[in-house]
């Protein structure tokens, strides 16, 4: 087929069609009007009109993480692009594949401080995997296709394409996507087989092994989660997951120790500390995982499987590194394990499990029940119990205490059903993300577990949710504090609650109603189940406000500057001395 001449905007839309994009989240403006004109002329690509560009990016993140596809965003120049920046960095840190199309002033005005001009490629360079400024329409189709390739190959991430208005209006040739090898970016997916053999050798000799898996397993696809399950059950090893990895291994399985890290379980963190061989798969030894680095798992040999070579030896030095896609590596690992007829020291493993069971018996997630006030932990537990029989439940969260409680008390058995802002910790992520998830899965139950502070950061997206009839449920744990800030002030700053009290909060029931959604409220423990059931039965979007215990803290916790075996618990906290002087400077 001969290549056809068309205008730049038509090339953009054609490329999106050919890349299989069915929905784009966006907000129009002067510089992108030509693209909006093309959107108007076609029906294949659905546009979701958000209320602020930041919402568009988080929605695309939710869409991408729940489908495994690339999320697509369309914003205008200047403030449109700068509003998108937080979401782009969020996607960068959590490795979410996005393509964000930004309008730009015409090429001859670039650098002229023109109306709504921003140096978008300059601003987004450190918060994207890659970005492009299209200066010649001849490059447009290639760059469009390349952007999708870069966004989803290797370690996924956000890609920005800056599109000057004259390029969008000029005439050029379209080029269909081809499977040409990228001239410089060809990340390795297969792991080196000799490294894998070394890893298996080390694992087979382990007496106190642990598997520590993360978001990379989710990114690698459902197949990788299956392989992880196969490998874990083949070896009989205990497994723990990071915040980003929840769902990569079924939480209901007995080999699962729960989440690890700052608010992880006692058994997971103690196993990490005491293990002799650690297998890290698709995780990155983040500071929220390791705690004090020089006391992190001091006596173990470490194996690290990651697709990104820069993750290896970044903060923790490892003994065996396998660079490759976790799905491929796990497949090879299973093959090598079987072929070498690796036999674990069953006696040692049994002893190790016994030790783990002792740690488990501490029941670190236990909390004091209260007959008068709803405990936030109870609210999440009841939400889980009342939804667990459903086939498709997607949970998003905002950032703070509620996020940690959701991670601790909601159980995920499948990947891609848990959307949270892990790396950047972006308050206001959950509502737009839930919107994106619901667009991708119109019939699923999508719940944003929120705090009253976070939800107000992107509450405007409730309007979008109503416009498209998305039945998103918002489950607000209202403690009238920025809970995590208050908790840190209690532990670190002598309970001086500086600016962490949320005064003049809206009436969330009326707020929901003003948008046309349904508002519900529970203030006493006996109301909780009824309100949750009512929320689940409502077809419309619901804001469900749960008034919870105001000064409840999120435990267990590894305080800043402490090691994995120095966790503190809800029952025995000495708030005066919980954090050492040295720990106070840490974030």
């Amino acid at each position: 087929m001969a290549n056809v001449e068309m205008n730049g905007s038509a090339i953009v839309i054609k490329a999106l069609h050919d890349q299989g994009v069915d929905v784009v989240f966006g907000y129009p403006g002067g510089a992108v009007l030509p693209i909006y004109d093309e959107i108007f002329k076609q029906n294949k690509l659905r546009h979701i009109l958000v209320r602020q560009e930041g919402g568009a990016v988080h929605a695309a993140e939710g869409y991408a993480r729940s489908t495994g596809k690339v999320g697509c965003v369309l914003v205008t120049s200047g403030p449109g692009a700068t509003n998108a920046v937080t979401g782009l960095l969020d996607a960068m840190l959590d490795s979410i594949p996005l393509v964000c199309l930004c309008g730009q002033v015409p090429t001859h005005l670039i650098g002229n401080d023109a109306f709504q001009e921003a140096d978008t490629t300059g601003i987004t360079r450190p918060c994207t995997k890659h970005n492009y400024l299209v200066k010649d329409i001849k490059d447009l189709a290639r760059i469009m296709h390349e952007a999708f390739y870069v966004a989803q190959s290797g370690r996924p991430g956000p890609v920005v394409i800056d599109l000057p208005k004259d390029i969008l209006m000029g005439m050029g040739e379209y080029m269909p996507p081809t499977k040409v090898k990228h001239k410089s970016y060809n990340p390795r997916v297969k792991g080196d087989i000799s490294d894998i053999k070394d890893a298996v050798k080390l694992l087979a000799k382990a007496k106190k092994p642990i598997i520590y898996a993360g978001g990379g397993v989710v990114n690698s696809g459902p197949g990788a989660a299956q392989l992880l399950k196969q490998f874990t059950q083949l070896t009989g090893f205990p497994i723990t997951l990071t915040l980003m990895g929840l769902g990569a291994y079924p939480a209901s399985d007995s080999q699962y120790l729960g989440m690890l890290g700052m608010h992880g379980t006692y058994e997971a963190n103690m196993s990490m500390h005491d293990c002799d061989v650690m297998l890290c798969i698709g995780a990155r030894f983040d500071d929220r995982i390791t705690g004090r680095l020089d006391a992190f798992s001091p006596n173990s040999k470490k194996i690290h499987v990651d697709i990104d070579p820069s993750s290896i030896n970044k903060s923790v030095r490892v003994d065996v590194a396998v660079v490759g896609d976790v799905g491929h590596v796990l497949e090879d690992m299973i093959k090598v394990w079987r072929a070498s007829q690796a036999k674990v020291d069953q006696k040692a493993l049994k002893q190790w499990w016994k030790k783990i069971e002792d740690w488990r018996a501490k029941d670190c997630l236990a909390y004091q029940k209260d007959a008068k006030v709803i405990k936030p932990q109870l609210a999440i537990q009841r939400l889980y119990e009342l939804t667990k029989h459903r086939k498709d439940v997607y949970i998003t969260t905002e950032v703070g205490q509620h996020q940690m409680w959701a991670a601790q008390y909601f159980k995920f058995d499948k990947p891609n059903h848990w959307m949270t802002s892990g790396g950047l910790g972006t308050m206001g992520y959950g509502l737009p993300a839930a919107m994106g998830v619901q667009v991708a899965h119109p019939d699923a139950l999508v719940i944003d577990i929120a705090g009253e502070a976070s939800i107000l950061m992107n509450i405007q997206e409730l309007s979008t949710i109503m416009q498209y009839g998305l039945p998103v449920k918002v489950f607000i744990l209202n403690n009238q504090y920025m809970g995590m800030v208050r908790q840190w002030q209690e532990l670190l700053h002598g309970s001086r609650y500086s600016e962490s009290y949320m005064q003049a909060l809206p009436d969330f029931v009326k707020l929901a109603e003003s948008f046309g959604a349904v508002g519900l409220r529970a203030t006493k423990p006996e109301e909780l189940d009824d309100v949750i059931t009512k929320m689940l039965e409502t077809e419309n979007s619901v804001i469900c406000e749960i008034a919870v215990a105001q000064e409840e803290n999120c435990f267990p916790m590894i305080p800043s500057g402490a090691a994995h075996n120095e966790m503190i618990f809800g029952a025995d906290v000495d708030t005066e001395n919980a954090v050492s002087e040295d720990g106070m400077v840490l974030v």
Binding site: S184, D287, L293, D308, P309, E581
Partner: protein, 183 residues
Amino acid sequence: MATTSIYGENPYHEDVLTHTISVLVDNEPGVLARVIGLFSGRGYNIESLTVAETRHKQGLSRITIVTSGTAMIIEQIKAQLGRLVPVHSVSDLTLDGPSVERELALVKVDGTGEKRVEALRIADIFRARPVDATTESFVFEIVGNTEKLNAFIELMKPLGLVDLSRTGVVAIARGPESMEGQD
């Protein structure tokens, strides 16, 4: 109060080493900004940086960076560079076998009489070439490794050094292997 940090503290207390790294990149707008932004954003040192197009037909440029850090940081710098989309290859000339390093400086020396004669004499010893001369000044061109240039510049200071321009280090591996491939 001790300022330990889970980010900054390096439990592997190690010596700081200087490495010369050669990076082959697509010669496209913004590529240098990506490399420099990576160094400033992640807090790495740049002691010297040179860049020029080396293969016009393929649109390739070579960036030579002299940087310093612990072995772990150097490894991290190379991995981070390799992660940039327009980067074709990264090679550590300090680690990957013997290499040749050169730097060029233009040194302007003002003076008359005995100092002027002395400047010329020392330039001769260092094989520095006068590339401009007036009755009261010279501009010397000197090529060599960084230490040689430093030594020459130190000697020129008391003799009337007034202006100095250096290229930064360029380097290439010894032997027949290429990091660019064939034309």
